[in-house]
């Protein structure tokens, strides 16, 4: 089934607010084996000028992929999610994510294309606080691999 071109440029409603917990940041940092004090120790983070522990640069994917996955699973889009792999990921930060942040993600479909049977969707996630302060923008290229190998 071809991708539905009507989704190009579509902006999805903002996600429900995500409360960034101090322990969640610590758990995520530990899962990537990272003992950087800025992720674990409130005083160390404050010494760097932050109000609380900050999140590793890839933490935003926890929010962004959840929101973009919900968006691209819309059956009207025509993307076979059972075949989806992560093709590319970028992050651009206005500031680091800090424990205590309450964040919403607004997903926009930036591009849609099919190359050699691979359906590719680029989903942008604009992450802001509930008060509208921009924190980060993520892009995730999601690829539904061709049913038959094309190589």
């Amino acid at each position: 089934m071809p991708l539905n071109e009507a989704f190009l440029g579509r902006v999805f409603p903002p996600s429900a607010p995500y409360q960034v917990g101090r322990e969640k940041i610590r758990e995520f940092a530990s899962a990537i084996g990272d003992a950087n004090p800025a992720f674990h120790d409130v005083e160390a983070a404050r010494a760097l000028g932050y109000p609380d522990v900050i999140a590793p640069p890839t933490f935003a994917v926890v929010l962004a992929l959840k929101a973009s996955t919900a968006a691209v699973k819309d059956p009207e889009l025509g993307l076979d999610y059972s075949r989806v792999v992560h093709g590319e990921q970028t992050f651009a930060y206005s500031r680091p994510i800090v424990a205590g942040d309450e964040l919403v993600v607004t997903v926009t479909i930036d591009s849609l294309r099919t190359i050699a049977g691979n359906d590719m969707v680029n989903a942008r996630g604009d992450i802001t606080t509930v008060d509208g302060e921009h924190v980060a923008t993520t892009t995730s290229l999601l690829v539904a691999r061709a049913l038959e190998p094309s190589e």
């Binding site: 758990e27 899962a31 640069p57 890839t58």
Partner: protein
């Protein structure tokens, strides 16, 4: 927000300290739980091989996080990383043994930007194969 490395201390070609990471099955389960990415190809060998993979593979985002650590360990203040991106070009296959997979990350300063930030380009290799495509970060140094 104070990076440990000063702009005045780097030039194009300055190398970041190289790092070697070990990724095993327990680490994949842990990352799945912390990230919420429970895709079966990251923990179930039967289902991973049924979709044509050689074995269970690491989350691309975990490999990217290890690459990111190489940058944040160098710069000291992780909040100094203002941009970070990569393509996922080859899987990191994680066998069910005591050693798991070994991921080697190297990096160097590729450019000094007009706004005083620097662009770091990385190389991420597993079993002699480059697994991330054009991994790069933009960092605001002290």
């Amino acid at each position: 927000m104070t990076a440990r490395v000063a702009l005045a201390d780097v030039e194009v070609g300055t190398e970041l300290p190289a790092q070697v990471f070990h990724v095993d099955r327990a680490g994949l389960v842990r990352y799945a739980g912390a990230s919420g990415d429970f895709n079966v190809i990251h923990w179930n060998e039967r289902l991973a091989t049924s979709v044509g993979l050689p074995n269970v593979i690491a989350h691309g985002m975990l490999t990217m996080a290890l690459a990111g650590r190489t940058v944040t360990d160098w710069v000291g203040d992780p909040g100094a990383v203002v941009e970070f991106g990569t393509k996922f070009t080859r899987p990191v296959v994680v066998p069910d043994d005591a050693d798991g997979a070994t991921v080697e990350v190297t990096g160097k300063v590729a450019a000094i930007n007009d706004d005083g930030t620097v662009r770091v380009s990385l190389s991420v290799v597993c079993d002699g194969v480059t697994v991330l495509g054009n991994p790069r970060a933009v960092v605001r140094l002290a």
